[in-house]
Amino acid sequence: MNNRNKKNKVLTIAYLFPTALILLVFIIAPIIYTFYLSFFNWNLIAPTKDFVGLENYLSIFTDPVNRKIILNTVFYILLLLVLNFLVPYFISIIVKFFISKMQTAYKIIFFIPSLFSLVVGAMLFSWIMNPVSGPVAFFMRNLGLTLPNWTNSGAMAVVVICLITNWKVFGYNFVLLLTGLGSVPQNIIDATKMDSIPKWRMIWDIVFPLNKSIAFYVLILTIVQGLQYVFTPISVITQGGPYYGSSNALYHTYLNAFVLYKTGNASALAIVTFVIFLVLLYLEIKFVEGRTSRYE
């Protein structure tokens, strides 16, 4: 028995080793190096790095631009949560429990945009939503309305950029959630029907708790991946403008690192973003996962 245990241990390590190595080389080591760089001023290639201590971190919290970026990031997260998580969840519930026909058709239709490159999408929307000469502006003018010049307002630019990522992400999240709903055991749903329990109570008390793990996964995906996805339309359409109004932590990190070559500031911002994500994940796991285990 003891021998077998030992063998199991060796095998476990052997099986985990390749993945662990890849994680170490491509994820963990760069994070540690980024942390190291965040204490220096360096332009990526100069032979010397100037040690500046915590200055880069202080600038994140004192520089008004950085504060604006952090607020924008929060705004992006809230908006993405609504657009890419709550709305698809709502619609997948409607499709699953209230519309019985054409489920596959909806799946396919909603899924198609997620096959397109986001660069293509961003360029397309930049043309479609052009407030002066785009088709949307044209139709609105015919209806006696005007499309505001959204590229000149940070808040409106953020909304449009979120809508573009929504176009891309919606279908994927929708299919994931719908699949999750499909795995709720049919006999339980049938039982609620027998007991003539209202549908909304069945959804609230049975479907939501049972579908929690998928929903949790999509939620995390929305936050973490969403902030990465908005990078592309920001880069293609606004470059973070007007005056950083549509920039977020990720784009600003990129701007500092690879446009201005201020690796120190960029690394500090990346580390702060990393910590924020860690906290978010911890909160999600604590609250959402905690509740799941109570149901089990």
Partner: protein, 428 residues
Amino acid sequence: MKFLTLFKRAVGVVVLMMVAVLFAGCSSGKAASKKVVHISYWHVNAQTQGGASVDALVKKFNKTHKYIKVTAKYNPNMYQGLMQNLQSAQASGKVPDVVQVGWAYMNYFADNFKYLTPTDAQSKFDGSKTFISKNFTTRTLSFAKDSKGKLVGLPYSLSTPVLYYNKTMLDKYGIKASSLSTWEGVSAAAKKIKEASGNYGLYIQEPADTWAQQALQLSNGAKIKENGKAAFASAAGVKAYQFYQDMVVKDKTALHTPWAQGVDDFVNGKVAIAYTTVAQASHIKQSANFDVEAITSPHFKGHKATVPVGGSMLAITAQSTEKQKAAWTFEKYLYKNSSLVTWSKGTGYLPPTQSALSSKEFKSYLSENPMLKPAASQIKTAVAWTSFPKNGLQAEQAMIDARDKILSGSNVQETLKSTQEKINEQQK
């Protein structure tokens, strides 16, 4: 069992050796006496932006030069992308041999990379040592000099901003093109168009640099940099920006929008006049379904029109002498009149040498494309694109931020002043 493995290994080794001999045989066939030098050329020209002419030029060079083999590599995301790739190349120790460097990156390049100046290349490899002075004017060479006055590379592609106008629209409202030679005239025309049609009168390009805005300030007698310090918040500089802000914010006769959208609005006939680079000429010509013409940059009344030059230079980053020599030979080929005209036709940039500009081939190309004429005539009076010696990229970003703020309505004088102070602070 053991014997079998040994045998297998032996067979493997023999096969490997045979393959090696075979390949070695391939490369040593013709050039047994002289070795072929391989060099790589990094450019930013996508297939739609002259990439095809880069390929054609390289192909022709390889055909006519037996002992040099050039490989062209396209770098996405323009000069910024190329600079990023060059950094990783430098880090890995495998640098390209000839690279295109955008003007905005000149000081950064000169400070951080190892390169061979054209002057050194000429004295090292040429017999006559007159190539540079014979082909380039002092003015053109000044574009490629860093803050210490050292020639970093040779000017390769030149561009200047020109004023495009929708002739159909201007004719309809009785506006003469000759009135657009001053910014005051442009503003009056824009007002007339706004009142009559509701369309915008003017769009000035807003990419991730302030090139066109600098032209605006320079053409009011302002200086961007004086004695190594930022000086654009002078009275003349403020006045030029105030004029621009009034058109955008107060009169709403000028459009404030990202570059791609602004040009789209112009070619869709929603903006009457566009002030943007000559490199947009072929795109505008192809996309507009109205009569479009171009004239030289306007100036403010009482001042001369002055434009900063855009584009790039060629720099030699090759490290070994034989590669440097090959790179220099390749550069000299690229500066031949026929090569430059091919290049110009493919990209819309203007040729950097005097003899190419006045060559018959280029002149006939100009008469087919009259929109390039104003840009070519401006080259003679253009100035170098302002490049700050320290933290130049951050200085450019500060100027972009100032533009963003001003066009959103913040106080012109205060914004320019604080930006100028910020840049000068970074110069210390």
